[in-house]
Every structure is written in C-alpha cells, then in structure tokens.
Symmetry: D2
Subunit: 140 residues, 4 copies
C-alpha cells in the first residue's frame, strides 16, 4: 500500500477533478497506510451553536479515504462510495480546523475500505469516527 | 408518533434555525410515521459525471429524520445526530430532484432512530438508503 | 427481482449448506421484494434479563438478506457479507419468536444491498433495524 | 479512561454474568485506551469454506467494547448496545484464534463509542473492523 502519487499530485488532481471541494479540503500529508486531510473551517460549515455540520464531516471522511485510495492506485480510477458510517463523538473546538486521519484497511480489486478519526487541530479527543467502502471499477 | 407541528411550522422553523439548509431542502409532506423531504438539486450538489455528492445525500437524510423528530416533540429540543450510516445504491437520474422518505422507528426519551429511502423524483428504484440516530437532550 | 426459488427450495438449501443455522432460522415466506425469516427463540439466544443477544439478531438479519438474494440468483452463488449495520431499538417481548422482514434495495452484478426490520411476533414496534451489503462473485 | 477493574476481575465478571460467552471469549489484556479480547475459534463458529461466521465476529466486537467500558465504569452498570456496524475485510486464517483490539473513543454519561480491529492471531492484515455504541443507564 505504498503511495504512487505525491501530495502535490493529489492536490493537483483534486483541484482539477473537484474544484469545489478544493476550497474546503487540503492534503496535509500521506502516511504509510493512509492520509491526513485538513478541513479549512469556514462560516458555511457551521451550524447554530458553532458546531460543524454533519454532512461537512462526512465529506471530510469521504474525501480522505478517496484520496488515500487514489494515492495507491493512481488518478485514473473512478472509485465510488458504496457505504459510509459516521459516529459524532464531541462538539469540535471553536475556531480551529479539523484534521481527518484516514487509514486504508483493505485495498482489493473490487472493494476498498478505510476508516478515519477526525480531530480538532491540536486536540487529542476525536470529534468523529467514520468508515467508508469504495467500489473500484474494473480496469478496462 | 402523531405530529404536533404542521408542514408550515416546520418550514418556518427550518428557515429561522438553518437558513442555509432552507435553500436546499423543502418540507414536502408529513406522513403518519415520518416525513418526505425534497432536495432541490442545483449545480453545487453535483459531482463530475453528473451524480449528486454523497455529503449532499447524507445531508438530505439527516435533515429528514431531524424534522421528523421535531414534528413530534416540538421545535424547542436540540437533538444532535450521534450516528449515521448510508448506502449509495444507484446513480440519481439527471435533472430531477431527490425525495427522501423518512420513517421514525424509535422515539425514546434519550434516543431517536429513523431511516430514509432516497429516490429520484418519479422513479421507484432507490438511489440511497440511510439510517440515523439522534440524542435527545433532557427536558430542563 | 422475482424469486426463481421457492420457500421449500430455500429451506432445503439452508439445511444442506448451513445445518447449524437451520435449527435457529425458518423461511416464513418470500415477498415480492424480499423475504420473511423466523428466529425460533431458544434459551441459547437469551442474555441476562431475558433479552435476545445482539449477535443472534445480527445473524437473523444476515441470513434473511442472504436468502432474499439467493432466491433471486439461485443457490450456486457464494455471496459474502461485506458490511452490516444494526440498530437495536427495543427489548424483544418475552417468550415469542422474532420475525425479520427483509427487502432487497439493490441486486447488482457486483453488490447487493438489503435492509431488515425485526419484530417480536404479533407486535408492531420494531425491535431492531439492520442493513447489509453482499459481494456477489463473478459467474465463472 | 484508566481501568478500575483488572483482567482477572473482568474475567470473573464475564463468567458470572455471561457463562455462555465465557466459553468463546477470553480477556487477553487491558490497554491504555481499550482491551484485547480473544475468540477461541471452535467448530461451531465456522461456516462452509472454513470462514468464521459474521455473527461470531460481531459478537467478538460487541463483547470487546462492552468489557472495555465496564473496565472503566465498574461491573454494576447495565450498558446496552444501541448500534453496531461491521466491515468484513478478509477471510480469517485457518486454525488460529481471532484477536479483537478495541479502543474507546468516547465514554460519556449517556453514550459510549468504541471501535475494534479483528485479526487472525499472528497476522497483521485485519479480518474485520467494527464500531459499536452503548447506551449507559443513569446511576440510580
């Protein structure tokens, strides 16, 4: 599961393929078994009371596992999410970004599975936990 | 589980409490055991290839179950999502809205659970299935 | 999604392929989009306080969706569960069987997805809700 | 989240409260943020093809998180599972036990959440991943 793409290549791919997402998410660093992604928290992600919206955190988990997969199989594949689950654990800290640390648990020919811990930057207690399954299309 | 709020009251509440969400979501109708919510699909919800983004569908499921609960316990409560899972089943049809049909399966003093089938308007085969758990705060 | 196997054929298959499970589970009836399975509740399924163990209910959901799939694709396939989620909603009624009503939401070439409502026989309020994804092996 | 019970006390509790489970499961060791549990694989856990049944692995995850919680709040509490999800990743190795390594992600007054990686003993690649939520009853 060694990456075949660099952080710069993943970032460039994300900007090209998902220009909207590229405003929200930043490739922090590749790890031996996954990736760390940053959500640049902005007004539009917040809900009353100052918490970050559930769909935004779901999106952070989704993009983190997606890019962790692409970093290993290359940018050509059109993997699609087939299943996601997320546990919301705590209210995020105010005024700091979220970091999603994804690890790949399986990278098969048909399915890939990963999980993510989401934390407020600088804090240890996780804000959310998520796992996602991707279907990997056959090579043509 | 009879509603104590009307569609108009839920809509008014959503506009006041979640002004951003109110652009995306529309209360279609209350049902005996739940609610039907509409996602007004717009350019910002789409991904390359014309599919609707996963976080957007997660958000539709989330708001549908949230409002199905509030319709029964009233708008004062601050329920929070503690767990969500979603299965993405098919690519949505192009150019039509999504309808999320939520049913409440449990409305307890501490936890509420519901599930949702999401369909492209006018089509029978579901696009996604989701279930969500909400924690209901104690009455003060 | 019309069944190509009968209840009798599914029962015969289950006894042959899963002799242990056949003590616990009974094919109640095929439905247009799924199946109803019965768990014959016995001492070994119970936990202190008289509730039915979580893994037993997970097993009921698993076998129900598995047989709902096989009824449509035939008994040769070796489908395997790739993901399951379950919400435990209420304590089952004492001294009655559980009925799991499964419906198939997707029956694709690679993946099948279904969900299940589990009820104590004779009661309307569901005891548990579950969804499962199966990977369907390629035809050889 | 420091344990207030020892491995011996947890084992004694499990034998008393869940005598059936005590044949299958063994407290391997407490860890700073969780527990490692062993499934002593026996004929009754196997499925055709030699794989370990899904409900058995679900049960391993369930008991691991349950005991990880009890080790921190004491044996009096009657925590109940409210939600579980599991991803089956690989076929377990033949003829070896399974080890479930659980970590607690949240231990609140009302809800506790943990996740588990299940591996065949001696192998690094995980066989399954699971997460569970427990409802913790109020202190009387």
């Amino acid at each position: 599961m060694t990456p075949i793409m660099t952080e710069a290549e993943l970032t460039e791919f994300m900007h090209r393929a998902f220009p909207q997402a590229a405003d929200d998410f930043h490739v922090e660093r590749l790890t031996p078994d996954g990736i760390v992604m940053r959500l640049r928290v902005a007004e539009r992600h917040l809900r009353p009371g100052g918490t970050i919206s559930g769909p935004t955190m779901f999106g952070l988990a989704d993009v983190a596992i997606y890019l962790a997969i692409l970093a290993r199989i290359g940018p050509v594949a059109l993997a699609v999410t087939t299943n996601g689950s997320i546990d919301f654990l705590r209210k995020p800290a105010a005024g700091v970004d979220l970091l999603g640390e994804a690890r790949l648990l399986k990278l098969g020919k048909v399915l890939a599975v990963g999980d993510v811990l989401i934390r407020s930057e600088g804090l240890d207690a996780p804000v959310a936990r998520s796992s996602m399954t991707y279907s990997i299309p056959p090579v043509r």
